[in-house]
């Protein structure tokens, strides 16, 4: 087990190296001058030159990358061009918002998705099944932007139950979590249904029923547990996406999370911020996938990592 985890963690090195090269190259391929964006249209050439020099943007690209990599290896992600704050500080400020949001959203999608999937699978071809299928399709297809604004209209403007965006209290997270959770719950519901149908056809389910076990136990203890592996995979992926890519939700609800940090960084050509945040997102993605793989073993004792 430990050897396996170590091996997986070692794989992080090439992944992060790839991400750093990729994000660096892509960012610098995009036209636009961070100094000009920072200093505005009115800035004089003297000011622009000074900003470029201060952030080493006047040096050749390979050297810029080498300097960046050298610092990053020592844990120094650099200074934001826009705000002059250390990138690590910015990420540390933003990441908790994203983490909380992603966690709540995955709870929402687990509750909605798994229940809907199980119900649909056990009552295959019924109206409930159809409703669940349709609901999940709607969940997948609805643009987050639209759903978010609609929720704000209903729950903030009309009913005044929750604040219309911003952050600070737990109430601020309810709507974003629902919106983000709804999007992934559709995928999870479909995966749960398909996986459950597969399992319900197995001999051991028939055996369990033949033993006279209650249907509840058959479904939740015998079938669902065995159907969990593919569902877990989707969970892991969705959670990973939410951690790095909840940009739309964060934008609609004005949550200062990491997704927005990246997008705003791209618009401002704030190279250090985008590169640093990409590294963090890549790391969490790998970590979440690793945790998912480890979790397989909990549900299926046949899976061993050694």
């Amino acid at each position: 087990m430990i050897a396996y985890v170590t091996r997986r963690l070692l794989l992080l090195v090439p992944v992060l190296l790839g991400v750093s090269i990729g994000s660096f190259a892509l960012l610098h391929l995009v036209p636009g001058d961070p100094a000009q964006i920072l200093a505005g249209q009115e800035a004089t050439e003297e000011v622009l030159t000074r900003i470029r020099h201060e952030h080493g943007l006047d040096r050749p690209l390979p050297i810029q990358y080498a300097v960046y990599l050298g610092n990053a290896v020592q844990g120094n992600l650099g200074i934001s061009i826009q705000s002059r704050q250390p990138v690590a500080t910015l990420i540390a400020q933003r990441f908790p918002f994203t983490l909380r949001l992603a966690f709540l959203a995955i709870l929402v999608s687990a509750a909605l998705g798994v229940v809907a999937g199980v119900v649909a699978a056990t009552r295959r071809n019924s109206m409930l099944d159809l409703a669940a299928l349709l609901g999940s399709l709607v969940g997948i297809s609805l643009p987050i932007f639209w759903l978010g604004l609609l929720m704000m209209l209903v729950f903030s403007v009309r009913l005044q139950w929750f604040p219309a965006g911003g952050s600070g209290t737990a109430a601020h997270l309810v709507l974003p979590a629902l919106v983000l959770g709804a999007a992934s719950s559709g995928v999870i519901a479909r995966m749960t249904r398909a996986s459950m149908l597969e399992v319900l056809r197995q001999d051991y389910v028939r055996t369990a029923r033949a033993k006279g076990l209650r249907e509840q136990i058959v479904i939740y203890r015998h079938a669902l547990k065995n159907a969990m592996i593919p569902i877990l995979t989707v969970f892991g992926l969705e959670f990973g996406y939410n951690l790095g890519g909840a940009v739309l939700t964060e934008t609609v609800f004005s949550l200062p999370g990491i997704g927005r940090l990246i997008v705003e960084g791209i618009f401002a050509r704030d190279y250090p911020v985008v590169q640093g945040a990409m590294l963090v997102v890549a790391t969490t993605f790998v970590a979440v996938n690793l945790l998912t793989d480890i979790a397989y073993a909990l549900f299926d004792p046949r899976i061993r990592y050694d």
Binding site: P31, V47, M152, S156, Q160, G166, P256
Partner: protein, 518 residues
């Protein structure tokens, strides 16, 4: 039963009448206290006024800091930290009499030494971003007595008071600057009506009342400026009561919000000019007849009325009416026939051009470019319209002449000093050619250069205004741009909020007089 709706309607109307009678009819007594939430589209870039470059930053700074002189909402100069001022005949020496008994938020006294400290900072080695406003103009500053400062200029400068009223002319506490250095941006200390509490990046800035404010203690207890990027989300925040004040309301939401009795929607003219720059290094835009023809081709009145629903105004030249020094000259009237004639005379009866526009940087920018595209098509000029993200757009429109295929491109310019010299010099003077400067269309005219220089060096007000008028006339005649419109700033607030300051420099902020009904 058939009478019920009528009865219902009567009751409703009576109710409404009663409501409007209890509403804010007479001038109301200001109420003390309360927290105001202001939702704006972007985070401040800095809270150190000498290093701040963006409107979201400037408007927050203006609540905490003050200048020697300030702009009124009609862009006239009025006393602030200086009670009076005078200049020598040659325009080289300016003497400011300072307000006495004023203290910075950290207790440091505001006096001549603090003002000198400001000048030493912008003229010295630190070179904050906005030093470029002062360094070319100011020679030095000296303390005459604790409440008198004398400033010596390098050459007469007609717009000196305007650069002093610029957001970057705010006087910060010398003690705070010494203590924090570059981190002053995170620990602002001024003399303004509101004191800094905290800045959570990407989320909000909180300020609280400065009870020692020289203009009287402010009414509001706290001001929270929240960053809400999504336009629609800001509107929803206003509607749900999550924000008392919002800016940059999408044009299509204005009519609906205006009808809602809970809100006040204010549409105010700004100093910004929007125009389409022509690259005069590319044929046929080197020909003044072609440039004039394109100006005649555009129906500005229709654009203002249809596209902007009157939340904009036509501008005759490069300067908008709220820039100090604007001359009310005749621009290009809509005359497609004349446009066609001029094009025919230039031998360009049909023309294919490239038209670029940003999308979302200015109000309705892309739609504006589309309207121009249609008008141009009507006179035989076929324009292909393309857009770019703002950062890329800025870079692409600033590339050197031999390394670009740009022809027509939409841009906006709002002189941050609020006066017309800065409305023309950076974008039309031949010393400012791209990629070094902001003259992105490579327009060069000796007469225009001379007229702008005359305005720059003017020692008297009539000389300044005269030279600015001459400059605008030359610019109109030469037509380096397709002059378009000046868009309004549209600000929405709860009806319970009073005394919001909307400066035509697209800055919205609160003053000590602002207050909120309970």
């Amino acid at each position: 039963m058939r009478r019920a709706p009528a009865l219902f309607l009567t009751v409703m109307l009576l109710g409404l009448a009663a409501l409007s009678m209890t509403g804010p009819t007479a001038a109301q007594q200001a109420v003390r206290g309360g927290t105001l939430t202001f939702a704006t589209g972007a985070d401040p870039d800095s809270l150190d006024p000498q290093n701040t470059q963006s409107n979201p930053g400037e408007q927050v700074n203006r609540m905490m800091h003050e200048n020697l002189v300030r702009f009124s909402t009609s862009m006239q100069l009025e006393p602030a930290l200086a009670e009076s001022w005078s200049s020598s005949k040659d325009g080289l020496t300016w003497t400011f009499k300072l307000r006495k008994g004023v203290k910075f938020h950290d207790g440091t006294p505001f006096d001549a030494k603090a003002v000198k400290y400001f000048f030493d900072r912008v003229l010295g080695d630190e070179k904050p971003f906005k030093a470029s406003l002062y360094a070319p103009v100011v020679q030095s500053a000296e303390v005459v007595d604790p409440s008198t400062v004398r400033v010596t200029l390098k050459q007469p400068f007609g717009a000196f008071l305007f650069i002093m009223a610029h957001s970057a002319g705010a006087i910060v506490s010398p003690a705070a600057h010494q203590k924090w250095g570059k981190d002053l941006a995170l620990h602002p200390v001024g003399t303004g009506p509101f004191k800094f509490v905290e800045w959570v990046k990407g989320d909000h800035v909180t300020m609280e009342r400065n009870d020692a404010y020289w203009g009287g203690a402010p009414n509001l207890d706290r001001v929270v400026v929240k960053t809400v990027r999504e336009d629609q989300a800001r509107v929803l925040m206003l509607e749900s009561g999550g924000a008392d004040l919002i800016v940059n309301i999408p044009t299509e939401e204005i009519p609906r919000l205006k009808k809602d009795p809970r809100f006040v929607i204010e549409s105010n003219a700004t100093a910004r000019a929007l125009f389409i720059v022509m690259n005069v290094k590319k044929k046929p835009f080197d020909d003044v007849h072609v440039r004039q023809a394109l100006n005649y081709a555009v129906n500005r009145d229709a654009i203002v009325k249809e596209l902007f629903q009157n939340n904009a105004q036509v501008i005759p030249g490069p300067v908008s009416p709220l820039q100090n020094g604007y001359a009310n000259l005749t621009g290009y009237a809509y005359d497609p026939k004349k446009a066609k004639d001029l094009l025919a005379k230039a031998g360009k009866s049909s023309l294919k051009v490239k038209l670029w526009s940003p999308k979302g940087r200015f109000v309705k920018d892309y739609e504006l470019a589309q309207a121009v595209q249609q008008d141009l098509a009507a006179v035989g000029v076929e324009a292909t319209l393309s857009t770019m993200e703002w950062g890329a757009y800025l870079a692409a429109t600033k590339a050197p002449a031999d390394n670009t295929d740009r022809e027509l491109f939409l841009l906006g310019w709002s002189p941050s000093t609020g006066e017309a010299r800065w409305g023309m010099f950076p974008i039309l003077h031949s010393s400012q050619l791209a990629p070094k400067g902001d003259n992105r269309g490579f327009f060069v005219s000796k007469p225009l250069d001379d007229a702008i220089d005359k305005a720059t060096l003017a020692a008297t007000e009539p000389a300044r205004l005269g030279a600015l008028r001459e400059s605008q006339q030359i610019a109109i005649n030469e037509a380096p741009y397709i002059f378009l419109i000046s868009p309004n700033m549209v600000v929405g607030s709860s009806k319970k909020l009073h005394g919001v300051v909307n400066l035509p420099l697209e800055l919205t902020y609160l003053s000590e007089k602002s207050w909120k009904e309970k």
